[in-house]
């Protein structure tokens, strides 16, 4: 995938990952908790479990995180945006995504 952000739902919240950092999506059956879900296959070889994949957003108005807000957001968060009225946390680097 190239360009834009892949928008996924994880922990009930929307996250945006740079699409070029995602090499694939795989459906998985989890034992604990016993739910089916999706794994994003990241270009660095790691996986990121998500509840659903929503869309590929090409044009997002990204609001970079200020120093004031950065310490409140999960590690690896680098910006915020809005999609269809719902806030998105944006990740910028693949290695950060594994911390989500």
């Amino acid at each position: 995938m190239t360009g834009g952000f892949l928008i996924v739902r994880r922990g009930g919240v929307l996250w945006g990952l740079p699409a070029e950092h995602v090499s694939g999506i795989e459906r998985v059956e989890r034992v604990e908790p016993a739910v089916s879900g999706l794994d994003l296959l990241l270009t660095g070889g790691s996986r990121l479990a998500v509840e659903s994949v929503l869309t590929l957003a090409e044009d997002l108005a990204v609001q970079p995180l200020s120093a004031r807000l950065r310490r409140f957001l999960p590690a690896g968060s680098s910006g915020l945006a809005i999609l269809a009225g719902e806030p998105i946390v944006l990740m910028m680097r693949e290695d950060d995504a594994s911390h989500v």
Binding site: G11, G12, V13, S66, F72, E86
Partner: protein
């Protein structure tokens, strides 16, 4: 004696005063999206006027412990100054009224409102790590 308008808010059993000039809107029952893995002090994310808004717990920013449910009211407020200025939500339990405080209250960081001790919030400094 010159006075400045402040929005008086309740944080549990405590009172705090926010400079009215920094307050953009008071929203009851804002749609908040709690963020798993976020640090203490972040109530969640919201949308305000088409922009993402981080909603912080004012009580925790002031070093108080939050007890009970998440804040019921979001005060959309400018923090910082100049190029550092940004809009955030401050979660509080109740927005009470706008009151006039002596101009020296901000420097003191506290005031008496109706005989009750009240934290006077410096919105230019709030949320900045020492």
């Amino acid at each position: 004696m010159s006075t400045t308008p402040y929005l008086l808010v309740r944080l549990g059993e405590s009172l705090a005063a926010l400079p009215a000039s920094a307050v953009r809107r008071v929203v009851r029952g804002a749609r908040l999206h709690p963020l798993p893995g976020a640090g203490p002090g972040l109530v969640g994310l919201a949308e305000f006027a088409g922009e993402p808004l981080a909603v912080l717990d004012l009580a925790q920013l002031l070093g108080k412990e939050r007890r009970g449910a998440r804040p019921a009211v979001t005060v959309v407020t400018w923090l910082g100054s100049g190029s550092d200025r940004e809009l955030v939500g401050l979660g509080v339990d109740e927005a009470i009224e706008v009151t006039e405080l002596d101009a020296s209250a901000l420097a003191l960081g506290q005031a008496l409102v109706g005989g009750r001790p009240t934290v006077v919030v410096d919105t230019e400094r709030l949320g900045v790590e020492a």
